[in-house]
């Protein structure tokens, strides 16, 4: 044992600084993968995930589908990634988890490559790398697959694109330019925020790879790197052309909403999270009931403290290093642009608070923060001019190494706490009932292959805004032909809130008056029209409770619907899904079929509670 440690120590001593940095980076990336692996392993499919899985299972995931907008996102790459997991098996979280971790590894490697390319293998790179790996900003994305397929490819492409871009700027390599262009296209293909990649590309070129004054610099950068701008421009124009023709416009954002979103995002969400915040999350009473999604809920005092710390750090670094403010400028511009994009795209639909306090929308900033941290504190290799100590010294301040270490430790501890508290509800069966529900439903339908009405699943499984993805037929489509949905039938049962089969009922008063025939109600021997309380034009179910002397069939017509349903001997209920408005129902029994209709009901089907005792 001691020989092994001795040998290890000797090997370590023999390594160059650069090699040690590489080893440390690997270790850090591995540690992040373990942490996020823990978070992902305990999570499951949620919300939009089911929409994607349903599409794939129903064979609707065609190539055209990849270019269809999802909400306001055009995300062919992301959708392709869902197809990959969907085709592995029914609700295979294992496949999704592997995909998530592979994507995370790619993003982390891309970020590390970016930092190496900018700054080289110096120990100072490990702090920005650690910021990317462990700040909670990018954490909310990894537990939610639908967010992952957007954001992690976007992050990986963004950081790698920056790296390739810098290689091109520094060495004028053609391959680097081609690579940067392809990566830009990949970023666009996974997430709308890819549109902000050029902001960084331009800022880096102008600030670090062009000479001259305020006006001279942009011109030189423009002229000097015209090939790059042309290539990026073509990609961006192509994307915009596709985007604008496929994605429905969201309308002009309200300037007040926009301003509030930007304000709240930058002041309350972003600043604390750069220091490992938000430390406190809340569920914000969001629509759709209880869910695992959490929102920033940092107390004002901690927000102020974060700003104080960040402001002082910025002041110190700017006073100590020339051109450190370039980094602050890059961060400020990108953060502002992100907030504006979120404000324009999301705040209108989801409300200011829910858009700006959801850290998920700022996941890509983790790598940008890392880059800017590096740009502020380290020289950029091969740059015309970058951050360097001021001479003569302006701020003569010697902070002991242990204080820096202590500060970093506090940030790391806060980050882990924020991450852990964020992951908790995703691992909690009460907040995430989906897995249990799907398992129960699958079990119930496998044991007893029955016809079920195509109702919507409980809000806790997928909320109503996901319509029509929240129909049983679509949500459970990965289970294949075990799910047999019908628009009419006899004595139907449906899945309840736990995923068990329960008799379906309409919890409403009967829509019919008591029938004229005392014992029988409405006695039906021939085509009979029965008046009911008028029904609006909506997708409702109609139930007909009857007593029949023999098996047979009848045709039910109501509104725009006319279907033939079986009649069974005895006391039963017929179920028919109707469309259109109507105030009477016509029942036409087949030859030889007579029945007594007791009452009829119209409304939504709900699983009958308390049927446990009956069984």
């Amino acid at each position: 044992m001691s020989r092994l440690t001795g040998r290890l120590r000797r090997t370590w001593a023999a390594l160059s600084t650069g090699e040690r940095v590489v080893l440390a980076a690997w270790a850090m990336i591995a540690a992040q993968l373990v942490l996020r692996g823990w978070a992902v392993a305990g999570s499951w499919f949620y919300a939009d995930d089911f929409i994607f899985l349903g599409k794939v299972a129903r064979g609707e995931a065609t190539t055209e589908w990849l270019f269809e907008p999802h909400n306001i996102h055009l995300m062919p790459l992301g959708l392709w990634l869902t197809k990959l997991v969907g085709s592995v098996g029914a609700f295979s979280w294992g496949a999704a988890a592997v995909e998530i971790l592979v994507l995370q590894l790619l993003a982390s490697l891309a970020c590390w490559w970016m930092l190496r390319t900018f700054f080289g293998d110096r120990p100072g790179v490990l702090v920005p790398l650690g910021a990317f790996l462990f700040l909670p900003m990018s954490f909310p994305t990894v537990v939610w697959w639908a967010a992952v397929v957007n954001q992690l490819p976007h992050q990986a492409a963004l950081y790698a694109c920056l790296a390739a871009h810098v290689i091109y700027l520094r060495e004028r390599r053609r391959w680097a330019l081609v690579m940067a262009t392809v990566l830009f296209a990949l970023a666009l293909g996974s997430y709308t925020k890819g549109l902000l990649v050029p902001v960084l590309l331009v800022l880096v070129a102008v600030l670090y790879f062009a000479e001259g004054g305020l006006l001279r610099r942009p011109w030189r950068a423009l002229v000097g790197y015209w090939q790059a701008w042309t290539a990026y421009g073509v990609v961006a124009a192509g994307y915009l052309a596709v985007y604008l023709t496929t994605v429905p416009g969201t309308g002009r954002p309200d300037p007040k909403v926009l301003a509030e979103t930007v304000d709240l995002s930058l002041t309350t969400s972003l600043a604390p999270s750069i220091l490992g915040g938000p430390w406190v999350w809340s569920s914000l009473n969001q629509v759709g009931g209880v869910g695992p999604r959490l929102f920033v809920d940092t107390p004002t005092s901690l927000v102020a403290l974060s700003w104080l710390v960040l402001g002082m750090l910025a002041l110190v670094v700017v006073l100590r290093r020339r051109r450190a403010w370039f980094a602050l400028l890059v961060l400020a511009v990108y953060a502002l642009a992100s907030a504006v994009l979120v404000g324009a795209g999301r705040a209108g639909d989801f409300g200011v608070a829910s858009a700006s306090l959801e850290l998920r929308y700022f996941a890509d900033l983790s790598g940008v923060v890392a880059l800017c941290l590096g740009l502020a504190t380290l020289p950029v290799r091969g740059a015309v001019g970058s951050s360097e100590p001021r001479t003569p010294v302006v701020l003569d301040l010697h902070v002991e190494r242990r204080w820096v270490a202590a500060g970093l430790a506090v940030v790391l501890a806060g980050s882990l706490w924020s991450s852990w508290t964020y992951a908790r509800p995703w691992h909690d069966a009460v907040q995430m009932p989906q897995e249990q529900w799907v398992a129960n439903a699958s079990e119930a339908l496998t044991e007893e292959p029955v016809d079920i009405p195509d109702t919507t699943v409980p809000d806790t499984v997928l909320w109503g805004a996901g319509f029509p993805g929240n129909l049983v037929s679509r949500l459970l489509s990965p289970l294949g032909d075990r799910v047999r949905v019908v628009d009419s039938g006899t004595d139907l049962r449906m899945l309840d809130a736990e995923g068990h089969l329960r008799p379906a009922a309409i919890a409403d008063l009967p829509r019919t008056k008591p029938g004229p025939d005392g014992q029988c109600g409405y006695s039906i021997t021939e085509s009979t029209e029965i008046e009911i309380v008028p029904v609006l034009d909506f997708d409702f179910w109609l139930t007909i409770s009857y007593l029949a002397g023999q098996d047979g069939r009848m045709t039910v017509s109501a509104g725009r619907t006319e279907v033939e349903v079986p009649v069974e001997r005895g006391l039963h209920t017929a179920y028919v899904r109707t469309q259109g408005a109507y105030d009477s129902v016509t029942i036409t029994p087949d030859e030889g079929t007579t029945l007594c209709v007791d009452n009829m009901n119209v409304g939504f089907l709900t699983p009958l509670a308390g049927s446990e005792e009956e069984q």
């Binding site: 304000d263 004002t300 102020a304 700003w307 002041l315 006073l319 302006v394 301040l397």
Partner: protein, 647 residues
Amino acid sequence: MSAVTDAPVRRLAGRVRDGALRRWPRGRVVTAVALTLIAAHLLFRGWMTAGSWFMWDDYIFIGQVTLGMDDFGWLFHSHFSLFMPVSFLLVKSVAWAGLDWPVVATQMIVLQALAALACWWMLRVVFGNRARILVPLAFYLVTPMTVASSVWWSVAINQLPHHVALFGAIAAHVTYARTGRVRWAIVATLFVVLGVGSYLKAALIVPVLLGISVVWFTRGPWRTRLRTLAASWPAWLMYAAVTIGYAVAWWSVQTGAAPRQRCELPSAMSTSVLDTVVTGVLGGPWSWRLWTGGIDPFVAASDCVPQVYRGSPDLVVGGAPQSLTDAPLLLVLVATLVLAAMVFYVWGRRHDALRAAWILVPYVLVSALLVYAGRAGTFGSQVSAREVRYFSDVAALLAFGLGTVIMPIRGALHRPGPRADPYLRLRLPRPVLVGLAGAVVVGSVGSSVAYTLPWHDRWDSTAFPERTFVNNLLDDLDRRDERSTSVVDVPLPPVIGNPVIAPFNRPSHKMASLAPRLKAVSAGTDLGIIDDDGRIQLARVTGGSRAEPGPVEGCGYLVNPEETIDVSPVLDLPFWMQVDYLSSMDGTVVVTAGDTSVRVPVEEGLHSMFLATEGTFSEVTIRSETGAAVCVDTIRVGDVEPVEDAR
């Protein structure tokens, strides 16, 4: 300005500069500038005071004096846990004038002048008569943290004497520390007495004095410092005596404290420090929210429901135009950063310049704790911690603290000065400093004006409902052209007279100074009632007659000389009784019902008599004392309301 008018002005300015100012010694120039600043301050504050009016406690004080409750013991009673004999003396000196604002306003402006002069005197004594004292003086004169004492009399009589005391005590104590002459310790003690006699927070003056001695007049290890301190034992002895005496006096008059809840503590601290003090120091909060505009948004934003909200939320809202600080979060953050950067700048360039932090930081924290203990724990931190008036003494202490950053205290052992080898080798250019100071001044004036305007609203019932109400009342009294108007003495609307101040929520107390023009009575003939707008209307008692129609045809119940009338039983609650009658001549009757027996005048003809009743009863006895025959028609028992409302 055109060249024609410009030239003489420039000539004049040049002459003043070259002539008067240059020939004057520097000290006299400083004095002239200081007095000019004070005069400008008094003009501005004078405008604020002149347009303002009485509010809330003001009526209580005037009512107490008018009703003759102001005996010697009254000076020492506890008013909402404030022990303030000096303030009560100030009340006595002007309350004779009743609701006469100019008299009260004059007192406020005089107090304001005394506070400003005391600040100037303190700065001169502590730092010497040098140009730099103008900076802290200007800060004290312009800061919006003290605005409440310029518009609200009750605040002025507490806080302005407190400021005078704080400045005076600091000046005298520093002189004592420098010279060792005990007479200055006595002067300081007298100022401390003045302070504790006017405002609760004056209890912090002695710790401040102790802090000054420790921070600037001792050095070395703790043992040495203690020995140095012990040398000024006469001062500590006197201060301790006053403090103990005050504590005993305060405790002896305290009644039970309102319940408070712990969950308000964190937000009381952070809101006080960040939203109120930090922005205030830089001339904020720039944006106010009127208390009458509703405090619900603040309450909704907090997890902790204020204690009082659990009772009746109506009671929380006063008729007051007080404003709460409401700076947007972004500005709060900017203010915090600017302040921190300023502190950083001073630290990086000057040594011994931040010693005042040892006193200021604890002072602000203790102030916030006091706000929690006295107000926020009950009324909610989002209301109480946003009141600048609870932090006005912080501004006064800051004037001293600011001085110690840029000037040495005369005779102190530690003197601030530029670091020989500064950490920060960057000198802010003068335009930046001037610009910052300018921004603070402009912001301060803006914040002050914005705070003041609602107080000047005579008729805006959303900004200052109480003033509108009383204005309507005075207006009505003027138009009535009668020597005296009698109204029923029933509680005023909660916005005008909050039940927590009972009996001063009734016109007999709150409007006592309007007598004899307005008499609020508990029994009388054809009484009026003050309606919700402050207008006087005829009163009537709600409901129908409680007595059967009387037996005598054309008369009802005949009272000659005595008659007992059965009424449907009345519960044991305070009610009003209205008796409609026809009397043969003027006279008096004695009405007995339940525990009530009142002598009421009757007038010839058809009239209504009103009287407040207590206790349960089922019959009413009326006895004519003067031989007048009285026909009683209806007897009603219930609440009184304006006749208008009944229609």
